[in-house]
């Protein structure tokens, strides 16, 4: 079964606006990761946040993690048309016995 559930399933915004995607998960985690997938391509790692971290930044990306609510959010600021892609959260279970599990993703469309 898939661990993470992204929300919304699809998001359409204008270039320059901010995009926020949310991820909820069910079990305790070691870390949570976000990936981007352009149409017809493989996944690309964006950012990893550990269970003892609350916020992390990378360029125009900001990720938050709330382990009490078992949720994470990915914020893309000043979006560009090139940000159009599917975004997936993936969780690494705290037990270490299960590999990375991906959610169903959020499809982001940035309109120029």
């Amino acid at each position: 079964s898939q661990q993470g559930e992204e929300d919304p399933q699809a998001l359409s915004i204008q270039e320059g606006e901010n995009a926020t995607m949310n991820c909820s998960y069910k079990t305790s985690i070691n870390n949570l990761q976000w990936y981007r997938q352009n149409s017809g391509r493989g996944l690309v790692h964006l950012i990893l946040i550990r269970s003892n971290e609350r916020e992390k930044h990378s360029g125009r990306l900001r990720v938050t993690l709330d382990t009490s609510k078992k949720s994470s959010s990915l914020l893309i600021t000043a979006s560009r048309a090139a940000d159009t892609a599917s975004y997936f959260c993936a969780t690494a279970d705290v037990s270490g016995n299960t590999p990375l599990v991906f959610g169903k993703g959020t499809r982001l469309s940035v309109i120029a």
């Binding site: 898939q2 993470g4 070691n30 870390n31 990761q33 990936y35 017809g40 391509r41 493989g42 996944l43 690309v44 790692h45 990893l48 997936f88 993936a90 690494a92 705290v94 037990s95 270490g96 016995n97 299960t98 590999p99 990375l100 599990v101 991906f102 959610g103 169903k104 993703g105």
Partner: protein, 116 residues
């Protein structure tokens, strides 16, 4: 540094035929994964190798799917016989570490399978 290489990129077969996908991970990466991604969904793990040993194959349909990683480097995923529901993109990924230290995964471009 070369990325994860996969071939073929596209394959179309009839149901009940067989198909094989090949993956060459990033040099030095001990852990190799095969994921299945059905259209509109997230990747689902099929099998994880640590060097040339299987760590997790609990979601691999073993009656038709098989995978091997000879010498702890390249890997092959085979489907025989294929079913219509096997139509998907098969993604190979590698990482330096696995298990509780699961870090960044590096993905190949994927092999898109269409079963008619």
């Amino acid at each position: 540094e070369a990325g994860v290489a996969q071939s073929p990129r596209y394959k179309i077969i009839e149901k009940r035929q067989s198909v094989a996908f090949w993956c060459n991970p990033i040099s030095g990466h001990a852990t190799l994964y095969w994921y299945q991604q059905i259209l509109g969904q997230g990747p689902k793990l099929l099998i994880q190798f640590q060097n040339n040993g299987v760590v997790d194959d609990s979601q691999l349909p073993k009656d038709r799917f098989s995978a091997e990683r000879l010498k702890g480097v390249d890997s092959t995923l085979k489907i025989q016989p294929a079913k219509l529901e096997d139509s998907a993109v098969y993604l190979c990924a590698s990482s330096l570490l696995g298990g509780v230290s699961t870090g960044e995964l590096f993905f190949g471009e994927g092999s898109r399978l269409t079963v008619l």
